[in-house]
Symmetry: C2
Subunit: 314 residues, 2 copies
DNA sequence: GCGGATCGTGCTCATATGAGCAGCATCGGG
DNA sequence: CCCGATGCTGCTCATATGAGCACGATCCGC
């Protein structure tokens, strides 16, 4: 397109989009035929001079979702728009809302839903509406008794999701990570715990998030790991955790010994699931999100625009 | 619009604008009639959920131009888009380009064009194309012999504009501001000077900018005023200058004594012109721009989006 | 200078969209 | 409980837009 056509296409776009003239009227104004105007507008669009944004907290970015499906092999993806977002909290809220919406629209409705816990999951539970489904049994897929602060959020999350669906929750009565391997084996040998884990393995769908490998992690907050433990994991290449298990950028377990002391579904079990919905948002989680998607830990990803673009460009 | 319709309108907008589906297809996807979809889209637009931007250095904001004409009584207005502008220089360049475009498209082509001088005018002269008009006589409307730095830009501006139009330039051989009133009278009495000013009074159109009342002013740079002179003018309420004459926010002369020593057209002569094009852009000039428009110094304004919005909101 | 290839143009025709209207549901006052 | 007012729905019809095509201009190699 030459200079003169480029300028004309801008003039045409102004009249078309800002003054909502018809292409015919624009043609008269600029002394062009309406077909020429149509072509100019098409070119302006195609060259990216026209930017159309949907400004709404619930807005999604369908073209990016499509690319995630096509280029990253995901079964499905939900990407919330970052347009107009000012704080990390707002982004987190939008993503949680989108995850809640996705869960609500799932067909067939899962009879058993395995869930992890953490800030993201808790927020999703709060964004779900009463009656989002009926008769869903929610089961925890990893250990989650908080040790110090915010006791019970893990339980509150699962129970909240279940109650709002008019179903029941099955809690995993175990710490996330145990200090000694023997204790972990003993806990797993417990009839109740073993039963819950079996139930978790049989879930129709899983909903989980991922944590960044830094000091803000819920595992540090909950007392399962110390800040220096996390530093050590980072030194070994950890980018974050999924259901309490720390992985590197290829999705491999960073510290097998630690992993062996972690209660709940293994990552391979999660990978084998037919429907695993990961909800991961925010700048801090770009690296984990990448690892999760690359290593096939989820089949569905709910995320924000910036994280999605990171996955696609990287 | 209730919550559910709002959400639907967002979903519809996503499919319509991002996936370019037809309203009918969207209807099928969302189980709505195509009329409902059309109404949802109209609502989304009307409620401002859809934002269409034209991203191009030459893009204008026609709705704002219309408001300037309607609400501020201008005969015409040109507002350049600020979208994607990163520096003040870029904004200045866009505005100068727009002014050059406006001048080029002026019908009837002015036979005599009165111009001021300064950074903005110089930039406009550079953005004009060779042959932008034919046979325009350009005449300076205020004194403009630079005293120290950048000698000759005032002359270069007028000559440049004239040459590119295949016409001639008539320079006003006088300083902008004289130190003594007597000298000013003497200069004005000079046959050549008086002739130029008479010619300037008879111009068909005027093109001028405005300066901010601060130390970056060309009058300081050129040595006509000291920094403390400007401080004094500001203390008296000056917001900026037009053709070397400092005005307050109502467009009144701030310092009549200084004004009497300033050579060139008076503001009242400028106000009486049938076509006066003011080109004013940038954050620093919001206040002068306001004064110029309020007091009717120009009939046409070329400016940037932010300045225009300032004029409309204030 | 000639003939083919290429491109842009303005048409025809099919499709998509918007305006306006009659029918129906919903709501609140009598 | 009834009835008119209100607002939403899905239609008809007019208009705006897009797809595809035939024509003529322009460019380039021979």
């Amino acid at each position: 397109m030459d200079e003169i056509d480029e300028l004309l296409s801008i003039r045409a776009a102004e009249l078309y989009y800002e003054e909502n003239k018809t292409q015919d009227e624009i043609g008269q104004a600029l002394r062009l035929t309406r077909w020429k105007v149509g072509r100019l507008l098409a070119q302006a669009k195609q060259q990216g001079f026209i930017r159309i944004e949907i400004l709404h907290p619930r807005a999604r970015r369908l073209p990016i979702e499509r690319r995630l499906r096509d280029e990253r092999g995901l079964a499905d993806a939900v990407v919330v728009s970052s347009a107009g977002v000012t704080s990390a909290e707002e982004l987190q809220a939008r993503t949680a809302q989108a995850a809640a919406d996705y869960l609500t629209s799932l067909r067939p409705v899962p009879r058993t839903l395995g869930v992890s816990w953490g800030r993201t999951l808790f927020e999703i539970s709060q964004h779900l509406r009463n009656g989002w489904a009926s008769g869903v049994n929610v089961v925890q897929i990893n250990g989650g008794v908080s040790l110090n602060r915010r006791p019970g959020t893990a339980a509150a999350t699962a129970v909240g999701i279940a109650q709002k669906a008019g179903g029941s929750a099955t809690l995993l009565p175990s710490p996330a990570i145990l200090e000694r391997l023997e204790t972990k084996h003993a806990i797993e040998a417990d009839r109740v715990v073993a039963g819950v884990i079996d139930l978790a393995r049989s879930a129709d769908a899983y909903l989980f998030s991922a944590g960044a490998a830094d000091h803000t992690s819920v595992h540090v907050e909950s007392g399962y790991l110390s800040e220096s433990d996390v530093d050590l994991l980072v030194a070994k290449g950890a980018v974050g955790d999924v259901v309490g298990r720390y992985i590197d950028s290829d999705g491999n377990i960073v510290d097998p010994a630690l992993d062996a002391r972690t209660v709940g579904l293994t990552l391979d079990e999660l990978r084998a699931a037919s429907l695993g919905v990961a909800v991961i948002a925010g700048r801090a989680k770009h690296a984990v999100a990448d690892a999760v998607v690359r290593s096939g830990l989820c089949s569905v990803l709910v995320t924000d625009e910036a994280t999605a673009l990171h996955l696609l460009d990287g």
